[in-house]
């Protein structure tokens, strides 16, 4: 535990219409820590993340960031809260018609009154931080998936937010690039004190970056484990958790590892 809680999730239930994805979960994220949300595919990690950043309204419960709730906030308060964090989406979500440079400069244009040269300098600096300054004038479609993800991180950092939400930053990257990305996250967390909320299922990177993890489960629609990942591997009581950390298929049938087609797009 490093600092004060900056994000408070209380009794959150996430649902798409009638289809409940997770039910009644509570946790908090402390200042400056790297917090990882784990779980099998389709268990609702992205859904929880999207509820935390206010894209969806909770079916029940609440999320507050720095003690303020996004749902029901007025426009000014909403913009203030939104500016306190940056988001990298699972698919990058760079604007396809703009170069990397323009992508990173967009938030600067909209929210600061920096002159053009200063904005460009900031954008290049952010791209250099993820090793993409040579590609500043490329369109996203001309880059590999991993490069797009790194560019998306640069864009999320454009306004120097205190919190970064990353949805599967290292999925689809080769081990070397993935390790570089972990190093980047660690150094940002150490040097700038940025709080990270990361969705991941890459065990190697979880061990190297995570201060604390929670693990979601599709069967119980809740949190099955919480704490330090190294301790969870050794001493968890739950078989689902141990099998996840030891990369073995769980023994009980009908586990969350095989997606159930009937529930897709419910």
């Amino acid at each position: 535990m490093r600092g004060e809680p900056v994000i408070n999730v209380r009794n959150l239930t996430c649902a798409y219409g009638d289809f409940v994805v997770v039910r009644d979960i509570s946790f908090e994220v402390n200042e400056g820590e790297v917090f990882v949300i784990l779980g099998g595919s389709g268990c609702g990690k992205s859904t929880v993340l999207k509820h935390m950043i206010g894209l969806y309204e909770p079916a029940e419960g609440s999320v507050s960031i720095h003690g303020r709730r996004l749902t029901g906030a007025g426009e000014r308060e909403r913009n203030e809260i939104l500016r306190s964090f940056g988001v990298m989406y699972q698919m990058g979500a760079l604007f396809g018609s703009m170069s990397l440079m323009q992508n990173v400069m967009l938030p600067l244009e909209e929210f600061t009154d920096l002159p053009r040269e200063a904005r460009e300098m900031v954008a290049v600096a952010k791209l250099a931080m993820v090793g993409l300054d040579k590609f500043a004038y490329n369109l996203p479609s001309t880059l590999s998936g991993g490069m797009q993800k790194r560019a998306a991180i640069a864009r999320a950092m454009a306004l120097d937010p205190g919190i970064l939400f990353l949805d599967e930053p290292s999925a689809g990257l080769d081990p070397v690039t993935s390790a570089e990305l972990d190093e980047l996250i660690r150094s940002l967390s150490r040097n700038l004190g940025i709080t990270f909320v990361i969705v991941s299922h890459e065990l190697a990177s979880i061990y190297s970056i995570a201060d604390r993890v929670i693990m979601l489960d599709k069967q119980t629609k809740g949190i099955v484990a919480e704490g330090d990942p190294r301790q969870l591997r050794e001493g968890s009581a739950s078989e689902t958790v141990r099998s996840f950390f030891n990369r073995e298929p769980a023994h009980h049938a009908d586990d969350g590892h095989c997606p159930v087609p009937a529930e897709e797009g419910a």
Partner: protein, 270 residues
């Protein structure tokens, strides 16, 4: 959840469809309100508009569609004149073809066909573009950056359509008149007769009435295109569904609005 078990009954299906239609109506009204608020804001702060996006959309909506506008307009003028000339010739009345053509094109067919073309070309393109951005989470990214998708994606497209549709309608009418001219010249009438006859019983109100129609149709078509794009769900076929729905809904809206215009113009004496 219960609905998943077995086939839904007829009553259940009717209920669901009705609910979906009602929700769609509510969404459309809310969206229309948002657009109006955004347009009003743009009028007050024109500096906050994204002029580059608007110009780009103008090129896509207007300039790029000129060939098809000219082609369809020309063919409609040609065919309409030729067919009516053949019929009217029996009564020696083919001299009235230009009068009819001018009136029909400027009042009715010009705005109608232009905006149906707009729905097919640009309404669908709007839905596809915004739908793809929705699927790629780009719309979510705009939202969490505190940038309104309406201001960023929708307003430029609607403004471009509003600016372009009346112009496109005029080009369409012009092309139709050229088509009619060819028929009349081949029947042996001189150019002067044709032009003077076209404008003989065409009033300025007919001209303006047509352009106002085009303006309203274009707002409907562009608006529903953008709305369908924003409503895109996830999945491979989702963008395709949105584009189809954008064109169909656009044409239905045009048909409704045209009916309302017919009644309104009748009572206003236009």
């Amino acid at each position: 959840m219960d609905g998943r078990e077995g086939a839904p009954s007829f009553a259940e299906m009717v209920g669901r469809k009705t609910e979906a239609a009602y929700n769609d109506l509510v969404d459309s009204v809310a969206f229309a309100g948002e657009i109006v608020a955004n347009l009003a804001q743009s009028v007050r702060h024109p500096g906050r508009l994204r002029w580059k996006d608007i110009l780009l959309a103008c090129v896509r909506v207007g300039v790029d569609s000129l060939p098809i506008i000219f082609l369809i307009g020309f063919l409609m003028g040609l065919i309409l004149s030729f067919q009516s000339a053949v019929t009217l010739q029996r009564f020696g009345g083919e001299i009235f073809v230009p009068n009819m053509l001018g009136l029909v094109m400027f009042r009715e067919m010009g705005p109608l066909v232009t905006c149906i073309l707009l729905a097919a070309r640009s309404g669908s393109a709007f839905a596809a573009e915004i739908g793809t951005m929705k699927v790629n989470e780009e719309v979510d990214a705009l939202n969490t950056m505190g940038l309104s998708p309406t201001r960023f994606l929708v307003t430029p497209k609607i403004l471009a359509s509003i600016l372009m549709a009346p112009l496109m309608t005029m080009f369409f009418n012009f092309a139709a008149l050229v088509g009619g001219l060819i028929v009349m010249i081949s029947l042996g009438y001189p150019l002067v007769t044709y032009t003077s006859r076209v404008f003989q019983n065409l009033q300025y109100t007919d001209f303006y009435g047509g352009l106002i129609k085009a303006l309203v149709f274009s707002i409907l078509v562009a608006g529903i295109g953008c709305l369908r794009g924003l409503q895109t769900r996830s999945g491979a076929s989702a963008v395709g569904d949105s584009t189809t729905s954008a064109v169909v809904s656009g044409i239905i809206l045009i048909a409704f609005a045209d009916g309302i215009f017919a009644v309104a113009y009748y009572y206003l004496g236009i």
